[in-house]
């Protein structure tokens, strides 16, 4: 890092040729443009959600909010199904992340131990499922034959272990020196004790990465709810949001009672619901970003 920045200093001290200047300018313009494209839709939904409803409907909002007020949020938050779905999503995310992280760790640790007899076979059995997707009908059949439909388990169990995250976690466990195991064995510790007392405390960063990936994934998912929940009182927020928006568009072929209820909502209120749905992500993201990137790096190198 330090070396890099000193190089950069040297770079700027050198006189730039006109060609270099043009090059730097093109790079800067491209990247500023890229950032604007990313930020603008998020900014746009935010200013629409705090603007006067009529101004939004007339399409007057595009650079800054007009008639700033929080009415849309007040209405959205008093709207029963929004609050209910928010609570559902929080519940599904906490329970789902907990189960998924524990299951993934239970899978990753044994597979990280080189002395495990049959390790290759187990790894093959597990990774095969990554490349053979039996499709949504078969998955639906499993869930409904186990009578999990309309329960939280339908949302948290079918995706409990992501092979991809398991590989990331296994790589993390493998980076812990073998000597620690050896000395713990000599002290009479068994694998469960070693896992609990040595491996987990040393893998906090890896675990944090996986927890975040699972939590974001479950929070953002709408498909399991769509497939396995019939009762709209159990809908997660993303599914509710889908139905609210679908109801107002031409795609409203699957109109539900929730959708019908909310069809009359103003546009700014819909933006407010979208923003409420995204807010947890926006709050967590700045702190979590370095873990995400670390996870992606491990995945790309070892995958």
């Amino acid at each position: 890092m330090r070396e890099n920045s000193s190089k950069a200093v040297k770079h700027t001290k050198k006189k730039k040729s006109p060609g270099e200047k043009v090059f730097s300018a093109i790079v800067a313009v491209f990247l500023v443009f890229a950032c604007l494209i990313v930020i603008y839709p998020i900014y746009y939904m935010f200013i629409c959600s705090i603007s006067d409803g009529y101004a939004v409907t007339r399409g007057e909002i595009w650079l800054y909010p007009k008639g700033v007020n929080l009415r849309a949020y007040e209405i959205a938050l008093t709207y029963q199904s929004v609050m209910r779905s928010f609570k559902n999503s929080v519940q599904y995310t906490i329970v789902g992340t907990l189960i998924a992280t524990i299951m993934t760790a239970l899978c990753a640790y044994p597979l990280s131990r080189r002395e495990l007899y049959g390790r290759g076979l187990f790894t093959m059995i597990i990774t095969f499922t990554m490349f053979f997707d039996s499709g949504l009908v078969a998955n639906y059949m499993v869930v409904s034959s186990l009578h999990l439909k309309n329960t939280i388990w339908a949302l948290v169990l079918p995706g409990a272990v992501s092979v991809w995250y398991m590989i990331i976690m296994r790589t993390g466990f493998q980076s812990i020196p073998d000597a620690l195991h050896e000395s713990a064995y000599l002290d009479g510790a068994n694998d469960l004790v070693i896992f609990w007392k040595i491996i987990l405390p040393l893998s906090k960063a890896t675990i944090a990465t996986i927890v975040l990936f699972y939590a974001v994934g479950i929070w953002n998912a709408y498909i399991p709810g769509l497939l396995y929940l019939d009762d709209s009182a159990k809908y997660p927020l993303q599914l509710l949001l889908r139905n609210i928006v679908m109801s107002s568009s031409a795609a409203g072929s699957s109109a539900t009672s929730v959708a019908a209820d909310t069809a009359a909502l103003g546009k700014n209120i819909k933006y407010a619901v979208i923003f409420i749905t995204t807010l947890p992500i926006l709050v967590v993201y700045p702190f979590a970003q370095k873990y995400f990137v670390k996870g992606a790096m491990v995945g790309s190198v070892k995958g």
Partner: protein
């Protein structure tokens, strides 16, 4: 005699190994049960593709009908439409999405100054974590007839508003645009990692030889990440048939089925909504088997060009 002795020895050896790792097996048992129930169990349920499945009779009592459902979809002209649409969406992504993360990574790599670099990365990774539902909703509002794009176009060029969302010709572009918005930043990480592995002395030497930065990108950076680009290219080809239905279910409407309906959305409607489970399972088998073959070919090809194996 010696062979037998050795065998006995190995078995003893294995048993000792098994016993020594007993707690590891105990741990592994729980996830293995999960994989057998939810993953292999669902592969088992694919058997209904060969049966005339009805929910009342259940899996075991439904009658075998052989390859009836496979014949059915091979004789279904609409199946070829959805197959074609799946491949077309993959090709559109390959042509218009695939280069974007590479270009983005090359650009970010040219930014001097750690803070600026960090900022651009933080911003461009963000959309990856925003849910598909939100992304598609934003796209629908932005591309709507009274959305901001139409507002600007009508104001600047005049004319009437285009209904992008219900025009089949616009479906693929909109799909790829949302793909770029949501994935390109995150997708650039892998190329940035590869770029950081390129020998920095090469740049130093090149600039002493008077190579411009553009020349350095062309002759050092791009060759440096070429192996990763080819692996990613092969992987993308291998996933040709695996276009997810998560996003398409949100973006398509009856009006755009002619370009938007893909294998998995068709399975969702015919198989699940219309409760034609056996038919849906038959199409899923087709898709899963061909995907597996494509991925195996891609892996072999990656091995051939000297890249490390994908799994």
């Amino acid at each position: 005699m010696p062979v037998k002795a050795q065998k006995k020895d190995t078995w003893k050896h294995v048993r000792r190994k098994l016993w020594k790792s007993r707690y590891l097996y105990l741990m592994l048992l729980i996830p293995l049960v999960y994989f057998f129930i939810f993953k292999y169990g669902s592969i088992g349920w694919l058997a209904i593709a060969f049966k005339n499945f009805n929910a009342k009779a259940g899996l075991w009592k439904s009658k075998w009908v052989g390859v009836k459902y496979f014949e059915m979809f091979l004789n279904d002209p609409y199946f070829f439409t959805v197959l074609k649409n799946t491949i077309f969406i993959s090709l559109w992504s390959l042509v218009f999405y695939f280069p974007v993360p590479i270009i983005l990574a090359l650009m970010i790599n040219e930014v001097k100054g750690t803070k600026k670099k960090k900022f651009v990365q933080t911003v461009t990774y963000l959309p990856y974590f925003i849910s598909t539902v939100v992304v598609c909703n934003l796209a629908m509002y932005i591309f709507a007839t009274d959305g901001i794009i139409n507002d600007v176009v009508v104001k600047v060029f005049g004319g009437t508003a285009t209904s992008f969302m219900s025009d089949p010709n616009w479906f693929r572009p909109i799909y790829v645009i949302t793909e770029i918005w949501q994935q390109a930043g995150w997708g650039s990480i892998i190329y940035l990692a590869a770029l950081s592995g390129v020998d920095q002395d090469l740049y130093e030497a090149a600039s002493i030889d008077g190579a411009s930065r553009w020349k350095q990108v062309l002759h050092i950076s791009i060759p440096g990440i070429a192996p990763i680009i080819s692996i990613q290219f092969l992987l993308t080809m291998g996933r040709m048939l695996n276009v997810g239905y998560e996003k398409i279910l949100l973006l398509y409407t009856g009006a755009t089925y002619s370009t938007a309906d893909i294998i998995s959305t068709y399975v969702y409607r015919r198989g699940l909504i219309d409760a034609n489970y056996s038919y849906g399972a038959a199409i899923s088998i087709f898709q899963a088997v061909f995907s597996l073959i494509l991925i195996c070919i891609a892996n072999k090809a990656a091995d051939k060009i000297g890249a490390t194996s994908l799994w």
